[in-house]
Amino acid sequence: MRAALVMAVLVVTLGLLAGTMPMQAHHAFAATFDTNKPVVVHCMITKVELINPHSWFWCDEKAADGTTTNWGFEGGCPNSLIRHGVTKATIPVGTELIIQGYQSKAFEHKGVGVNMTFPDGRKFLFGGSAPGAEGEVATPTKDDIAPATKNDDSSKK
């Protein structure tokens, strides 16, 4: 019922929303990343860079054979993150996340991080959920940080 109501509102207002709204992304993701290369990486955070115009999240993916691959994922501009109280410590080194995104056209282990979830399925949202939207809100707690990596070397990229 709720979903139907939401859809009805969307349909009613489609005409208005279909106008030219003067908003646009900073740069073309399509020039950097490849929609033909979706990736899902289960990894542990090793470094968070809050730099403009895009933050970068680095994490280690462990393969079954024990080898480790360091990935870099581009995320949103840090200004809004900082305004919402996010710091470099909000996702502590060692936090286990599943990052869904698309690979870089040029670099095998770089990508854009479309979204992040904890291993138990909870969405990671820096800014909270929308008014009236059914979004789960989650920021890391102590339990979300892998015990084995709590004292990890934070200088590692």
Binding site: V9, V12, G15, L16, Q24, A31, S80, F126, S129
Partner: protein
């Protein structure tokens, strides 16, 4: 003694430079003929203590106080959709529906395929991050309902007038930059062969500080600082600052072109009016003619939480008639943060390397193979 005189001289020169420089530059006309120098418009006087004053906050010299942090985010489209033809304003119910739908759409961007108006951030076919994850959605950044059906209010049909034949034939690539077909000084490039292809927006050279001041994709905030002689506007995205001299004389020489044009402000009653000319060819709004474009902005503080921002675009070589839009600026909490982009050096590497990878893939593609799009865009 000499040292003291020297220090005084330097201090005086520093203080007078911003006052005298525009007048000096204005005198450097490219034309040898002695044309009469246009005089600056003089501001109207602020109301005296005995005159009626509206309830808006005021500065010590009696002007409406524009100082503070503001956002101009809006779900309202620039041009009026056909279904609202003939109606500048929505009903309260329609306004709330648009606002709620905007919140929902920007929350669930991936479910609104085909809604062009929300741009690349909400385009599910683009390779993009979920803006909600990173606190970049309008609902996370102070957007408020707007009772208008379009931002354009003049012509009365809410639509931008047709382009002139000259404007239609104008190239969109100027001075090595791929200029931009939309409302910003940059835009989403798809492929960059050389750094100049990255454009002004991607390299953060000239972003969204206007004029005109339009909703930015994120960090659509402004800090306005006001004094009797100058008003400064800092846009958070790009950290660009426009310094607007008040009653400062004529514009600089027609030979001088600046990323954000040359601004001259004056007060008309309680409205700050800013006339902007002298734009750079690579950064001229909507590919207008930098020699003939004039953008006039009007800032009117209408209540404690709102500045009504109106801009008029006048360029007879580009549009068949002038047109105007109104965008409410809503008060938000500060501070704003520096947007230190460093010419986007990270992305420059990734984008240019991406182009090389695409080139290589195209060379290796067997002859006769079907064309696979590199991206959706």
């Amino acid at each position: 003694m000499k040292r003291r005189f020297y220090i005084r001289f330097v201090v005086c020169a520093a203080l007078l430079t911003p006052v005298l420089a525009p007048r000096f530059l204005a005198g450097q006309s490219g034309s040898p003929s002695a044309k009469p120098v246009p005089q600056a418009r003089e501001s109207t006087k602020p109301p005296s203590k005995n005159e009626t004053r509206s309830a808006v906050p005021r500065t010590p010299d009696g002007r409406p106080d524009l100082h503070g942090y503001w956002t101009n985010l809006s779900f309202t489209p620039l041009e009026r959709p056909a279904k609202y033809q003939g109606r500048e304003f929505l009903t309260d119910k329609e306004m709330q529906e648009v606002y709620k739908a905007g919140l929902q759409v920007t929350y669930e961007g991936a479910s609104v395929e085909g809604i062009e108006g929300f741009g690349e951030l909400y385009n599910p076919t683009s390779v993009d991050y979920d803006v909600n994850t990173y606190a970049l959605s309008p609902w996370q950044n102070g957007i408020r309902p707007n009772p208008r059906s379009s931002l354009v209010v003049d012509p009365p049909d809410g639509r931008i007038p047709p382009l002139t034949a000259e404007a239609k034939a104008r190239p969109t690539r100027r001075g090595g930059f791929t200029y931009v077909e939309d409302d910003h000084h940059g835009g989403g490039i798809v492929h960059a062969d050389v750094p100049a292809d990255l454009g002004l927006n991607t390299t953060c050279i000239s972003m969204q500080a206007g004029p005109p001041l339009l909703p930015a994709e994120y960090n659509s905030n402004m800090l306005i600082v006001q004094s009797p002689g100058y008003v400064a506007i800092e846009r958070e995205v790009g950290s660009e600052v426009r310094v607007i001299p008040i009653d400062a004389g004529p514009h600089v020489s027609a030979n001088i072109h600046q990323w954000h044009g040359d601004a001259r402000g004056h007060w008309e009653g309680d409205t700050l009016v800013v006339e902007n000319t002298n734009f750079r060819p690579q950064a001229t709004y909507r590919n207008a003619n930098p020699k003939t474009l004039k953008i006039t902005e009007r800032f009117t503080r209408i209540d404690k939480d709102t500045i009504e921002y109106k801009f008029t675009v006048d360029d007879p070589t580009t549009w068949t008639k002038p047109w105007s839009a109104i965008i409410p600026m809503s008060r938000v909490n500060g501070p704003i943060f520096e947007y230190a982009c460093s010419e986007d050096n990270n992305d420059a590497v990734n984008i240019l390397a991406g182009a090389r990878a695409a080139d290589k893939a195209a060379e290796e593609k067997p002859k006769g193979a079907s064309s696979v799009p590199i991206s959706h865009k």
